[in-house]
Amino acid sequence: MRNPWAETGNYKTSYRQDTAIFATYLEMLSLWALVALLLVLPFFLKRPQVFVLDLILVYSLAVLGLNITTGYAGLINIGQAAFVGVGAYTAALLAPSLPFWLTVPIGGLAGAVAGGIVGIPSLRIKHLYLAIATLAFQIIFEWTVGHSTILKQGGAIAMPRVEFLGYKVGYKNHYYFWYYVILLVVVLLAFAFRNLLRTRYGRALVAVRDNDRAADAMGMHPGLTKIFAFALGGFYAGVAGALYAYLSRAVVIEDYMLPVSIKFLAMAIVGGLGSIVGSFLGPAFLVLLDLNMEDLANWLKSLGLSYAGVDIASAMRPLTFGLVIVLFLIFEPRGLANWWRLVRNFFRNWPFKY
């Protein structure tokens, strides 16, 4: 007998049941409970804490995009920050004339176009080369921004305060307002992605990752699928970039350079490549780590570890990101999502194992 509330065993008899988003009502309920919790959470937090939540959610969006290209389609992307930047700069250019609920999706579309263009070589070549193509895109993007007078050559472009329902979002409400906007977008896009994975296009991504020749033989077009993966990943990145631009109230090239791309990769790996839960755990882990970096550097200084000409604080970031990437790849390649999975599987049949 199938229990709609708790899984007591595997009673799935059709693919439809197997691909269902929620196996039990309990799972659905717990997810809605999480969303409800996230909805009320800001009421209990101070401004800076809400800002941290905002950051985690925006990064999660970008990492979700990275997970589409790198995690699900298996295409290494070392230029995710550039795609995020495309969205941010699009939003920055359009913000003076358009409302934010238009500039954010347009930023996403711009990211998607950029992703599609970068993905073009995948019609002929394989992932190793594609990784290099994304690196080239990152560098060309940085250079182009640095040389465009309209983009202030990478200097800060201020984002206007937005109006919503005739109400101007001011200093006090800024982080709270954007928290809800970002949360809405994240929930929508995460659901869209979860659903996509059940469709033919989503499963084509995984098929092409696992064996593109077999996928080809089964009637999928590996090249087009890869371009699709890049474009979709670029869309998520673009949306994240536009939201980040509004959130931080300025667009600066430093937020979209190569080290940031590596930070996104670190987040995706720490969270677990090819996992939606991981796309949230990874950014949360690294943002919180990043916040404590300053304290860590000060602590190291107080231990007398600082010497002339060395800035420990600037060394800590690349050091920890690199260390985190390397250690996770060697010891837990499936990331934090794997721990989450283990815990969940323990409770899945618990306590009714019959």
Binding site: T70, G74, I76, I78, I120, P121, R124, I125, K126, H127, L128, Y129, A131, I132, A133, L135, A136, F137, I139, I140, W143, T144, G146, H147, T149, Q153, R213, A214, A217, P259, I262, L265, A266, I269, L273, Y307, A308, G309, V310, D311, I312, S314, A315, M316, R317, P318, L319, T320, F321, G322, L323, V324, I325, V326, L329, I330, P333
Partner: protein, 297 residues
């Protein structure tokens, strides 16, 4: 005309640095199919080791150079043993990601030394001036750069053609299984390939130090410029790496000479190689000398 020649000559100098760096990169790729994103950091380690030995320990430049070669080779060797070896058999994505993580990690470690920021220049050890022919002047450091590169390339060429180790490395690159069954230690060869890459990287770093000043950012940037060079030459071709490196160096200088005046702000040399890279990927993805992969199901 002499302007063009001058650009070509300085392009050749820059190109020989890229060629050396690209050589090490291709060595690793050929042996173990790993794309090494941490190559620029090895170049930096080599260059800063020479600097530290010469300036802090007051060693002779050539002795310092030799020690730096050994030290960088050791670092690369240890990196392979510590970080790459545990990942043998893992999907290629993880292996490449590890090199990206390593790049970041080594960056952080270099930041812990006094070389993290600022410019450094080796004390001058070559006479002022230079030679000139056909209206083109070549300074002694530039001459040294080209000669040293030629020397290293010849040395590695000899090593691969004549020595047993070189033959073993070529065998592994050709067919890992067959090489293993004939008694070649593949593990050993992987580590050796990394050590050899460390040597070429250190040599490239030293040459940068003789031609111009060194700072972390520009050395790491050279590590990234390796990509256009190897893609142009073909990822798995050693002559391709050398020719690709030199061509990219020359193209870069031609871009500085002829495109910079057209672009506000200039600096086209930083981006032009990557535009070339994308064009090569679009139209001739396996480069000039790379082997096209033919896949059979």
């Amino acid at each position: 005309m002499s302007y063009l020649l001058q650009l070509l000559v300085s392009g050749l100098v820059v190109g020989s640095i890229y060629a050396l760096a690209a050589l090490g990169f291709v060595l690793i790729y050929k042996a173990s199919r790993v794309i090494n994103f941490a190559h620029g950091q090895f170049i930096a380690i080599g260059a800063f080791t020479v600097y530290a030995l010469v300036v802090y320990l007051k060693l002779n430049v050539w002795l310092a150079f030799g020690l730096a070669l050994l030290f960088t080779a050791l670092v690369a060797f240890l990196v392979e043993k510590l970080f790459l070896k545990p990942l043998v058999g893992q999907p290629i994505i993880s292996v490449i990601m590890v090199t990206i993580g390593l790049a970041s990690l080594l960056d952080g470690l270099i930041h812990l030394t006094p070389f993290g920021g600022g410019n450094f220049s080796l004390p001058r050890f070559l006479p002022e001036g230079g030679v000139s022919f056909l209206g083109v002047s070549v300074s002694y450091p530039q001459l040294l750069a080209v000669l040293l590169t030629a020397l290293f390339l010849a040395g590695f060429g000899w090593f691969f053609q004549r020595s047993t180790l070189g033959a073993a490395m070529r065998a592994v690159a050709d067919d890992q299984m067959a090489a293993m069954s004939l008694g070649v230690s593949v593990e050993h060869v992987f580590a050796l390939a990394w050590a050899a890459a460390g040597i070429t990287a250190a040599a490239a770093g030293f040459i940068v130090g003789t031609v111009s000043g060194i700072n972390l950012e520009s050395l790491v940037a050279i590590g990234l410029k390796v990509f256009p060079a190897v893609i142009l030459g073909g990822l798995d071709s050693i002559p391709g790496a050398v020719i690709g490196g030199i061509v990219i160096g020359i193209l870069e200088n031609l871009a500085t000479g002829y495109l910079d005046p057209l672009v506000p702000g200039g600096g086209t040399a930083e981006v032009f190689p990557f535009v070339v890279l994308l064009l090569v990927l679009w139209f001739k993805p396996h480069g000039l000398f790379g082997t096209e992969e033919i896949e059979r199901v």
